[in-house]
Structure formats: C-alpha cells, structure tokens
Amino acid sequence: MLLNELTLKEAQAGLREKKFTSVDLTQACLHRIKERNPQLNAFITVCEKTALEEAKKADELFAKNEAQPLTGIPFSVKDAICTAGVLSTGAAKILENYTPPFDATVIKKIRSQGAVLIGKNNCDAFGHGASNENSMFGPVKNPVNLDKVAGGSSGGSAAAVADNMCIFAIAEDTGGSIRQPASFCGVVGLRPSYGRNSRFGIMPMASSFDTVGPMTKTVEDMSIVMKAIAGQDPLDATTVPDSVSDYTGELSGDIKGLRVGIPKEYFDTAGIDEEVRMLCEKQIKELENQGAKIVDVSLPMTKYAVATYYVLVPSEVSSNFGRLDGVRYGVRSPEDNLFDVYAKSREIGFPEEVKRRILIGTYALSAGYYDAYYKKAQQVRTLIRRDFDRVFSEVDVLLTPTSPFPAFGLGEKASDPIALYLADIFVSPASSAGIPGISVPSGVTKAGLPVGVQIMGPRLSEGLIMKVANKIIKK
C-alpha cells in the first residue's frame, strides 16, 4: 500500500512508530498530485517546497517526542479559506493574486500541531455552486469517473481526499458544499453545527449559514480532525462556548435503542434515483439489525428549504461581496473613476453564478421587495427550524440520502441554475436550521458511482452523528 493511501489514523501510527517519516508521507502525496492533478484539477496551488520544509520540521518534532495528533500529516485546504503566505483565490479571478498574511483560525489550530499544508483545493468560486463548474480555474473532475462532476462547492477537496492526494482536507459548507461533494466522490464530509468551528479567515459567503468542516477517508479520521479544530474563538463572535467533546471516544459503543428518524419527504422526492434510495434503505436495515429503532417522521417544510436558501443566501452574498471591489486587495481594473473600478473589477473578477447571486440578493433586499422576499424567507427559516426541533423530540438522529442522485455529467446542469440549486434539496435544510450533518459513503451504483448517506442530529450533536455514521457499512 502506498503511503498516501493511508487513513489519518494509520498515518499517525506509522509516523509514531517511525515506520516512515513525514517527508516520505508528504512526498507520496505530492507524487500523487503530480500524477493525477492534470486530469482532476483538484488543486489550484500545490505547496511543494514549503510542504517538504514543514514535513522536515514535523520529523524533528517526532525525534524530540513533541508530536501532537496532526503532526506531520499532509492536508489540503479549500481555496476560499485563508492560509498565511499561500495564495488564496477563492477560485475567482478577483483574488487570483491574493496572499493572506494570516491563517483562518481552524487552519492555525491544525498548523500549530505541525501538520503539513500540501496545497489549496479548487472549488466553485467563493462556494457558489453544487458541481464545481463555477470555478474560474476550470471544473474539478470526479476521480471515479472523469466525465462526471466532483460535486460542489468543495469538489477539489472531495476529489483530493478520494484520490489520496492528501490525508484529509478542510472545506466549507454553506448549503451542502462539504456533504454533497463528499457523497459524489465517496469520502466522509461533516458540516458542523453553526457556531461549533470558527469562521474567522473563511471568505464569507452567507454569514448566517457558513460553516467550516473536514473531509476525511473514515469517520474515525473525522473525529480526530474535529477534535483539533472545534471550539470557541474570540475572533468569531458567533462561536459557541460549549466545551468540545472527545469525539473519537464517543464513536465506541453500540446503538441499541437509538431512535433513527426516516423523514418521508426525503424519500418521496420526485427525481430521486432508485439506486440511491435502495442503498439508503439497505443502511436503514443495517442500523435496525444493530439494534436501532427506526421511526418514520415527517419534515413538511423540506420542499421549501431550497427556495428559502436561494432568497437568504443571495441576500447575504450581495452584502458580503461588497468588500470584493478591487480597492484594497485583489485585482483592480485600472479605470479612471471609482464607479468603473468597482464595476469593471467585479465584471472580470466574478464568474456568472456569483454575479447572478449578487444581483438576486440586491433585488431581494431593495426597497419595496424586502418584506416579500427576505423577511418571508426568514420566517420560513423559523418554520424549518421548528420542523427539526419537533422531530428531535421524537428521534435522536435522522437518516437521509445526501443527494437525490449520484454524480451527474459535466455540463449536464450547467445552463439551468434551478436544476443545479435543486441538487442541494437534502443538504440545505440542515444549513437553514444550523444543525450538523455528516455524509458517509454507503456503497456504489451499478455504474460504480459513490452514494452517500446523511446523518443529521440536533445542534452540537457532532459526536452522536459521527457514532451513527461509523456504523454505516461501506460496501
């Protein structure tokens, strides 16, 4: 087995037992990137030189017995997350030359343990998309089938983990951007509860929805990374003070008597792929065999979640993206007057989907339309939250498909924004409610495409949903 194919847990053990060095492990990942990135386009930046330097430093920590859980582990980061001294473009031309002087808090925590930053992952520009076709650096291809999308927006991160170009990745999930590509590429992806992980240093998309989470090869790996990054941050006032659990410890034990809710709306949806439904039903049976109590539940607001999301998110986007104007950083179009500097820099700097969302949000928030669109959607968001609150008084967790279908073809949904928005139908409700959700591989279709199952739980139930996800059988 090649070193880059190891899980985080296995890599930790090998480094600790001095079976190989961090330099060996890092070289194995760099080699894989060199071999595969020309086809997959999963990386915008590869930190070859600095990664090897960081790996050497990590090996010194091992020599001095000062290693921590993530010391020497090569990881990659979505390009919409700031990394000190490393180009962070957000996959958009307006920041194609932007090198942040600081690390996002979650990245700082990981790097302070001596982990090795191996590169920056391609994504839909600033997280706008569900297929990774809205990157201004070209689409990411699915490692399982190069004619299919990797999913989005964190498609590069999902492809990098699935294709063993890194040991784990850090990405961002606003409305499904970690979970959906995780399901398309066959890796584990966790959207934490809003407020669990710091958002400081994340390029903001929709501030009341944005979360940062890991993408890993196994659920156990997920628990290790989450333990390292979760917690309150004085630089993000929306992080919660609740203590961080020992997530890995919580994975053990059985699920006898655990109440698993099956929301009928997620299985009755028009357009759900028959093989996806069957693979999920197989997992429900599996959990039942392990002693879980399966309960049919209803979340009637499910069908309104995408519409709610596509009012609120563009509204927040239109406000947040005011900062990207070519004035203080990034690419400035050299115009004679200030208005043209803004308008031209944004014209050349954003892809069409980002422009569309800014325009939708500008419209929804403009005088005369605010109540009809923004306030209405905020009220429906309350009803979505109430749906989950009620259901979590009846069950402990929910099991659903992550996506109604496996990875679709490149270009297949590119010209119809609503068809692409609807790809988020099973992942956007948790985003609106601020609850955690994890996508875990649960088998492949006859065509060999991965299918993910999503486990959702009440706020701050990351430990519990990882435990349940860990019981899902891969094949």
């Binding site: 519409a307 690419v331 004679d336 939708i360 500008t362 924004p417």
Partner: protein, 101 residues
Amino acid sequence: MSLTIEDVRKIAQLARIKLTPEEEKRHAVTISSVLEFVKTLNEIDTADVEPTAQVTGLEDVVREDLARDCEYKKELLSQMPVVSGDLLKVPAVFSDSEDVI
C-alpha cells in the same frame, strides 16, 4: 415575476457590476425563473412567525474595547493594488476623471 433587461441594468448598477449585453439577457431570464421559483414560499402562512436571523441564540457577544496593533501591516500593504508609501491609492471619490491622482 419577470425582470426586463432594464430591471437587470438597474440592479447591476446598484450592485456595481458591469454586464455585457449577452449577460444582461441571460440574467433577465435566469433571475426571473429564480424569482418565480422562490414564490413557492407564498404557499406558506407565516403570519405571526418570528423571522430567523441567527441560529445560535447568542446575544451581545462583546470583548474589552482595547486598541490592538496590526501584526501584518507590511503584508497587508503588499496586497494593495496601488499604494503611495503607506497609503492606499484610489481614484478620487468626488471628482471627474481628470482629477484622478
């Protein structure tokens, strides 16, 4: 709700984005369809429902009001598109193009 090309131009002006004529045409169609799609929310009775602006329930999170030095002054300056010494240079805000520095 159907947006005209004129509507799109007006929104783009407010949003400070220049669009090509082709983009204006495409956005008029696609944004109209999104607005039509989100109209489904009107099927729901939301009378007396409080709007949700945030999900954590945290309130009045404050820190001590202390001045802090910027650790990265030099690096931030190096990211600016045009500088003059330690100052960011931009076209004049209140003047015609002739007066641009």
